[in-house]
């Protein structure tokens, strides 16, 4: 029975649905922190309250979208996981204890991982008729999940509430075109139109790289190069463009390290070659496919021997995992992670390192540690460099998410920032404080955040809570230990 038919009983719209088709009154659904207006998603109104025909049309479109979610033709990418999560959840709530949003909010029921999954389950199995209040709240609550999938590691049956949240987002984006502006119009479409989600065109990129190259030469006194568009390079560094704009010292640190190690590397300034991000990973399969296809084609034109994915967690997810499920084999890319490559490089002894004394702790990005299992190489490298390295608990694959994952760090509305700092990032901040409290402070204390999203989120909550802890990227930290130059990269 299609979902649309379920709204009717004996040919008439069921009374529950009819009573819900009334004008929306704004009220604070998500309790007082942060204040959200019902039916609004990041400033985009999900539904217009009047007239009634439009409401009905909207309702039917939502029903059709949810129907499409269960069809193999429309959802061959994630159908199995969705079915698994819908059918096999026993509502034991073990996942709730593992969720940083639930714990950070003070155990509010609406932030349980299975809250949204349960509503989706009841809608898909047609136990409750869908009205647009439920639909608006459903899409709003799907954007309160970081899709870190820590709940999936806790579940004894492997039910994945993070992916269910993504499926809800997908139903609304692919079925109705509703998604936050920062991800949709200003995210994936900007990347397809201009080349990067930051709005940086290839000319701007080349200009910026030339500037950074001159600057690092002046500062270090070494003939460092940042090669762009070189064919026959050994590696192509595929980085997040936010690093070039907000943390430009990151690429300078890489340039220094690669120069001293004698690596034949390059960047790419063609569209699709300098932006490793793929916001389609957050909310939409079709946008994911378009961006992935463009990136794959650009990289094949340049044809380096290997692609090294820089410090961006979701680029790892898109390039190291999802491409093997979406791209045909002739377009697949030989990709590796910087978390494997850089420790190898340092370990070979080509660069002389000295030890650093400040207390430092390491944050594991969810998409690198939990999804890919890369936890040891970077730890060993940092333990070799630092005399004062202290690890967080829990760490590695059991780490907590920073709170900025799956696009939440990109939503810059004040309510979203309040949610991120007050609810989602709380547990992580507590972890950082606990880790660095064990060491006495006399000078700078660092947390290494090797992922742009995490850096952005950690920067936000460190300034929100007015902390004196500094955040630093992995490359800058390592480059501060080079003995041939003075430490020049700040946190």
């Amino acid at each position: 029975m299609k979902m649309r038919e379920f709204l009717y009983r004996d040919g008439i719209l069921s009374p529950i649905v009819q009573s819900a088709l009334k004008p929306l009154k704004p009220y604070h659904w998500v309790s007082d922190l942060p204040k959200m207006e019902e039916g609004y998603l990041d400033g985009v109104q999900v539904v217009e309250p009047e007239p009634m025909e439009k409401q009905l049309e909207y309702l039917f479109s939502i029903c059709d979208s949810f129907d499409s979610l269960t069809k193999s033709n429309d959802n061959w990418t994630f159908l199995k996981v969705l079915y698994h999560s819908i059918k096999y959840c026993t509502q034991c709530n073990l996942c709730s204890e593992f969720c940083h949003v639930y714990i950070g909010s003070g155990r509010k029921e609406i932030y349980r991982p299975i809250f949204k999954s349960e509503i989706l389950r009841r809608v898909l199995t047609q136990q409750i008729p869908l009205d647009y209040i439920i639909a608006s709240r459903l899409v709003e609550s799907s954007y309160r999940c970081n899709i870190c999938r820590r709940c999936a590691t806790a579940c004894p049956l492997g039910v994945d509430n993070g992916i269910v949240a993504r499926e809800i987002r997908k139903a609304f984006s692919q079925g109705l075109g509703i998604a936050p502006t920062a991800l949709h119009q200003d995210g994936t479409f900007k990347q397809l139109r201009l080349g990067s989600t930051t709005g940086m065109t290839p000319e701007a990129f080349r200009h910026l790289i030339r500037f950074l190259e001159c600057e690092i030469r002046d500062r270090s006194g070494l003939p460092v190069r940042i090669p762009v568009d070189e064919t026959n390079a050994d590696i192509l560094l595929f980085n997040n463009p936010g690093e070039y704009l907000s943390w430009p010292e990151n690429i300078q640190a890489y340039a220094l390290l690669f120069h001293l190690a004698g690596v034949n590397w390059t960047l790419s300034s063609s569209p699709g070659g300098y932006d490793a991000t793929n916001y389609g990973v957050f909310y939409d399969d079709v946008q994911l496919a378009r961006i992935l296809l463009e990136q794959a084609r650009t990289i094949h034109e340049l044809s380096p021997k290997k692609v090294i994915i820089g410090e961006c967690g979701h680029a790892h997810k898109a390039m190291m995992v999802l491409q093997h499920r979406l791209l045909p084999s002739k377009l697949r890319i030989n990709a590796d992670s910087i978390f494997n490559y850089l420790p190898d490089l340092i370990g070979k002894g080509a660069i002389k390192m000295r030890r650093q004394l400040s207390p430092v702790t390491l944050h594991d990005p969810c998409n690198v540690a939990r999804m890919l299992g890369i936890t040891i190489p970077q730890r060993q490298m940092i333990e070799d460099i630092s005399t004062n390295f202290v690890d967080m608990t829990p760490r590695g694959c059991d780490n907590y998410c920073c709170g900025g994952g799956s696009g939440l760090a990109l939503l810059r509305e004040p309510e979203q920032e309040a949610f991120r700092c007050l609810v989602a990032g709380r547990v992580k901040y507590q972890q950082i404080l606990d880790a660095l409290a064990k060491r006495p402070t006399s000078g700078n204390r660092y947390v290494i955040a090797p992922c742009s999203n995490c850096k952005s989120q950690i920067r936000d909550f460190l300034s929100f809570y007015k902390s004196d802890i500094k955040y630093i990227g992995m490359a800058e930290y390592v480059a501060n230990s080079i003995s041939q130059v003075e430490p020049m990269f700040g946190g």
């Binding site: 069809k71 193999s72 033709n73 429309d74 061959w76 492997g158 079709v286 463009e294 499920r325 045909p328």
Partner: protein, 231 residues
């Protein structure tokens, strides 16, 4: 009394879905006929009489009815409802749901074959009197398999729920999302599937590969600097 009528005639199902109701009725009446057939044959073995013999024949003919019922039921479950048509996620449940009915279908198939080929109730009566008196008997192969499968139901019917629970385990492992990369042929087939999403950035395309490769979306198209985004 009304409960008895409900269980015989399945009135709640009649209200919901008439096709399903018909198939359920036929299948269950086939079972009832089978049970009465066994009872009457046993009575005939103990106390032979013409009346019992013809009753046994009529109840045996219920096998055909049951066979038609279960085939119709299988059709309804697989094709008539959403299960295989439209190919949604319910197709993972197909083995578990149809396992029991396939067994019943084979049983009734043997019974039907027996009736249509031999047109006599003699073999069944011989079998039951041999069961009662412990004598030797000769029956054709189809009747023999009919009774072999019939005895497996002595195990299946009381433990139906347990068996279905075990089948759920197998279904779980069929569904479990593996970590291995997907092979190229599967991806190529998936890329040519049709789309029915209606979002404005997808609705004009019909296949996945069409929506991803269209030059309208992508930096390589001619005019990159238009204002706004085609939404």
């Amino acid at each position: 009394m009304s409960l008895l009528l409900d269980s015989l005639f399945f009135t709640p199902y009649y209200k919901k879905d008439k096709d399903y109701w018909l198939s359920l009725m036929l299948m269950h009446w086939g079972f009832i006929c089978m049970m009465f057939h066994t009872a009457v044959s046993l009575c005939h073995a103990v106390y032979p009489s013409e009346g019992l013999r013809s009753a046994s024949w009529y109840f045996q003919a219920g096998s055909i009815v049951g066979f038609m019922g279960v085939v119709f039921l299988l059709w309804h479950k697989l094709v008539g409802s959403r299960l295989l048509r439209g190919e949604d996620y319910q197709f993972y449940e197909v083995p578990r749901r149809v396992a029991g009915y396939v067994l019943i279908a084979i049983l009734f198939a043997f019974g039907t074959y027996d009736i249509l080929t031999y047109r006599t109730e003699e073999h069944h009566l011989t079998f039951w009197s041999a069961v009662v008196y412990g004598t030797d008997y000769q029956i054709p192969t189809s009747t023999h398999y009919y009774y072999a499968l019939y005895s497996s139901f002595l195990f299946y019917l009381p433990f139906t729920n347990w068996i279905h629970y075990i089948l759920r385990f197998f279904q779980y492992y069929r569904v479990f999302w593996r970590v291995a990369p997907v092979s190229d042929s599967v991806i190529q087939k998936n890329l040519t599937r049709s789309l029915s999403w209606r979002g404005s950035h997808i609705s004009k395309f019909t296949t996945w590969i069409g929506s991803a490769e269209h030059p309208e979306y992508g930096v390589r198209r001619e005019n990159r600097e238009d204002e706004g985004v085609p939404l």
